[in-house]
């Protein structure tokens, strides 16, 4: 049975979101996607992830637990 014909599995809107995530996000092992136009490589620049520092994180988690 087609995945898209299983409406009980997932809502249509959620399905669009899911497909969007699967195509645009997630780990890649083979490197950044490189688009070539007329032999000039246009390197896709990945988004930078902003992270709470581990120290801040630990402190905040302790505060929340306490």
């Amino acid at each position: 049975v087609s995945v898209l014909e299983q409406p009980h599995r997932i809502e249509p809107v959620a399905l669009v979101e899911l497909v969007d995530r699967v195509l645009n996000k997630g780990v890649t092992l083979t490197g950044d996607i490189v688009l070539s136009v007329a032999d000039v490589d246009l390197v896709y620049v990945g988004l930078r992830v902003l992270l709470a520092s581990v120290a801040t994180l630990d402190r905040l988690e302790e505060d929340t637990v306490a």
Binding site: S2, V3, L4, R9, I10, A14, L15, E17, L18, V19, R21, V22, L23, N24, K25, G26, V27, T28, L29, T30, G46, L47, R48, V49, L50, L51, A52, L57, L60, D63, T64
Partner: protein, 204 residues
């Protein structure tokens, strides 16, 4: 051809969900890392959108029963197991960091759209001002949520992704709703919880 869905650690209990083209799921292991895969003899004949949805459903089902899951972008395929193992060995440190980061977490997506953003931008300045508002409101939301999230990311488009402990997903969604209530100048849409697609170990 081997199609890769996600990475995890140890021996994950594979979901009942079938992979692309109805293929069974399997794991390929490198040290403690496990790649969840399906094997295919012939190129897929499935419609691309349907294949992407099947890929996503495998990842979501896996993350429901497994603590640390790093989703792989659709389209990662390897000629054979040797090629996959080679890529695993090369990327092992990054995958380990990513798996440690997402352990026990889900992702909440938030889209912020300026109410002032015209359907068709009249001038470049108007368009950029609306975009700027969206990004700054996303950043403001991220600051507010910082105490209850593990990590976050704001894309140049004003879309934010929050990595949150599974048991805090509901409170984070409630906090996003509260933010939306106090900021009528922007339309705020939240989605999830999802498997943590945006936190793939590229983190600085």
């Amino acid at each position: 051809v081997i199609h890769v869905y996600a990475f995890t650690v140890g021996s994950p209990r594979l979901p009942q969900t079938l992979g692309l083209d109805g293929a069974d799921l399997d794991t390929v292991c490198f040290e403690e890392l496990a790649a969840v895969v399906s094997r295919h003899d012939a190129p897929s004949t499935t419609d691309a959108r349907e294949a992407a949805a099947a890929h996503g459903l495998v990842v979501e089902s896996l993350s429901e029963s497994t603590d640390a899951v790093l989703p792989v972008r659709y389209g990662e395929t390897f000629a054979d197991e040797a090629a996959l193992l080679d890529a695993l060995a090369t990327n092992a440190p990054r995958l380990r960091r990513g798996l440690e980061l997402v352990d026990g977490c889900v992702e909440i997506g938030v889209r912020v759209q300026s109410a002032a953003r015209p359907a068709v931008a009249t001038t470049g300045t108007d368009y950029l001002r609306a975009r700027f508002d969206e990004v700054s409101q996303s950043a403001r939301l991220a600051e507010q949520l910082a105490p209850i999230v593990r990590a976050w990311l704001v894309s140049p488009g004003g879309e934010a992704a929050f990595l949150v402990r599974s048991d805090r997903a509901t409170s984070v969604l409630a906090a996003v709703d509260a933010f939306a209530g106090t900021h009528p100048e922007v339309a705020v849409t939240s989605t999830g919880p999802w498997a943590p697609y945006s936190f793939g170990g590229e983190a600085a």
